[in-house]
Symmetry: C2
Subunit: 449 residues, 2 copies
Amino acid sequence: MDSSVKITIIGAGSAQFSAEIIRDLCVSPGLQGSHVALMDIHEQRLEMVYRLARRLAAEIGAEIGFSKTTNREAALRGADFVINTAQTGGHGWTEAQRVLAEKHGYYRGARLHDFPQMALFLEVARDVERLCPHAWLIQSANPVFEGCTLMHRETKVKVLGLCHGHYGYLQIARVLGLDPEFVTAETKGFNHWIWLTDFRYKGEDAYPLLDEWIDKHAEAYWAQDNFEFHDTQMSRAAIDQYKLYGLMPIGDTPRFAGWWYHTDLAAKQRWYGSLGGFDSERGWQRYLHKMEGNVRQIERAVTDEAGRVTDIFRPVQGREQIVPIIDSLVNDNECCYQVNIPNEGQLVQGFPDDLVIECKGVVSAAGIRGAASPPLPDKVVIGEMIPRWRRAECAVTAMRSGDPDYLLHYLLHDQRTRSRGQAEGLLAEWLQDPRNAQLAAWFGGAKQQ
Amino acid sequence: MDSSVKITIIGAGSAQFSAEIIRDLCVSPGLQGSHVALMDIHEQRLEMVYRLARRLAAEIGAEIGFSKTTNREAALRGADFVINTAQTGGHGWTEAQRVLAEKHGYYRGARLHDFPQMALFLEVARDVERLCPHAWLIQSANPVFEGCTLMHRETKVKVLGLCHGHYGYLQIARVLGLDPEFVTAETKGFNHWIWLTDFRYKGEDAYPLLDEWIDKHAEAYWAQDNFEFHDTQMSRAAIDQYKLYGLMPIGDTPRFAGWWYHTDLAAKQRWYGSLGGFDSERGWQRYLHKMEGNVRQIERAVTDEAGRVTDIFRPVQGREQIVPIIDSLVNDNECCYQVNIPNEGQLVQGFPDDLVIECKGVVSAAGIRGAASPPLPDKVVIGEMIPRWRRAECAVTAMRSGDPDYLLHYLLHDQRTRSRGQAEGLLAEWLQDPRNAQLAAWFGGAKQQ
């Protein structure tokens, strides 16, 4: 097989992410002959990733072509697949928004950084609609849930959200001591808000094995508290959510569900261990530090002409679904994946058809077809899905309407908000930040005090 | 016309309520010959209302028969209409539950008294299903929204919720100085959560008149702060909600929407005037006091053989829709009313068919048909309807399942909840109250600390 597919990566300067995609492409026989257009506004990082990409292809002996540009339009023209991994303003702007929210009493931030992200997503989607309307837009930067719903509602683009959070079930298997080869799992919900609806070991329901672990081993596991990084998936919080809702929360879900696990560092430590979990001030710094370390390692490898970048990025298909899905779509290689797609056919029952939900999907040259499955239990729907849906509707409708009242509603329904003035104060200051000039113009600057 | 309809009033000891229903029956030509079965567990009040009922019928010269009983089964047998106005444990138990919640940090209570109410509603509905399955069950005690939804989902009874809150538009008309004869209004949503979707004066949109009043007269009106009792409908809070959501909240809606109007007495006073509104410690005491005064006045009138009870209950049809609706159903007198009925046909779009919603309905011998109308605006749906729906689903599912986790979820989503322990502490103490023995048994006492 030989393809002449053009794949554009927006935000390609994310070295780790781009390298994994490119490595996966290089080892995909069906996608040889493809061209990858790397696009980023950060020239230096772009140049580094471009060199890395060529080195990877050369070392693996793959026939993949590369181009690089800081011009989004140029990158998009003729694209068959557009992968959007861009983070507006990078981690710096995200952190600045968090600090601002903390000043107004929102411990660890108020997720306002989702709004500039959505504004960028929509720009990209509109460019795709105009320049390469038949392309698949694969959204991998967050917020996947809100972002994909927004793009699906505002454009005619074929939007597909992808995330590897659903692999969280493998961590459960690991901790339970199950051979992952014999473990199957089904998860569904909204992105970062998914639940383990079916969990089997050698074909048998494996939930009883989890229950047994909770009874006999969980306390000892938590007492160790010595995980190299953190283990949200098997944290005390995740197990508590399982008890409260009846299904295990998977992947990023236990990071975010339930405001009461996150009121302060002490609460986070109680529920996630001494680091306070991935999203505490400690856990997040460690994550950023680790990310920087990875980037430096990649930079060193690229600069070292004598070394091999395949020592870092082993030449075997990784865990990301992006390239296998492209392969399924291009080469009609029908397979099942975890996808974020519109809720047509009520894949997640009781929510709008034009909401982008996460479920299992069958992918082939015919496209993507979500797999029907039983409804989520009432406890999950009432306890977690409806409130999360409302938050998404609020954010998406804010972006579509430009009405700043939705921003206020967004904050007013945050459990940390103690008064109307607190929410209004944060919003006003956030919209005044020069980095938010475009958003502030869209929201008219009205109604802010 | 002459009917032989049997109307049963559960909780008939509510003198003011029962007397108005009976007076309305007495002045309805089409319902002469009816029999009213008064049922209450409070014998003394029941006796008083029985005497009052007979006095009313005699003074008006109406042919209505009466019976009284403390036995619910006896009252229900053969009933064509069952009106449930009962409040479990009376105001005393409601107040005790409020005091308990305040002890745990829930200013003005946590609405836990809705649960014993729903338990009673369900008992009554199951009795109706068994003893008089063809009867209409007219639910007038609160919570109408949750209670009707619960009864509709758990039984086959024809449930109809009624409330006079929708008349709030007349207070708007009054304050704007509009002749009510030329004012029309449409409101819909959930009970106590309804919005003015159409408001006309002499056929023209009257919202601009409201906007003008807000611009020119509202501040002066609020500065008076001298309403005899309170004016929630035209309060600063109601107008603020109108600005936030784009439609006026009607009747009891502005009492309850938006947690930020209710954080403490000072907030309530800022938004509702010096009394702090109907539901503040001041407003509510005044309401209870007024109710007691009414009851004493009625008692005096009944005891005074020389007086006339029609001096208190003028012999003209009052504002309650209950008797006119019974007349429409019995005598095929087709009319429009404000009703709470199942959401079949998506009368309030985007919510389940088996949720009981409030809207305009056409009533005749054929039954009740909800009137279709345009969807509520996004701002109302996202800002207020979805969260209110979730709360109702949580309460209703708690009652259906007996799973105490729903009670916990109910409190955890209350904006006043600051920690998991706070919610658990209140629940545990509430379930231990001897007056909640039956509920505690239903919820199994499990999972409470």
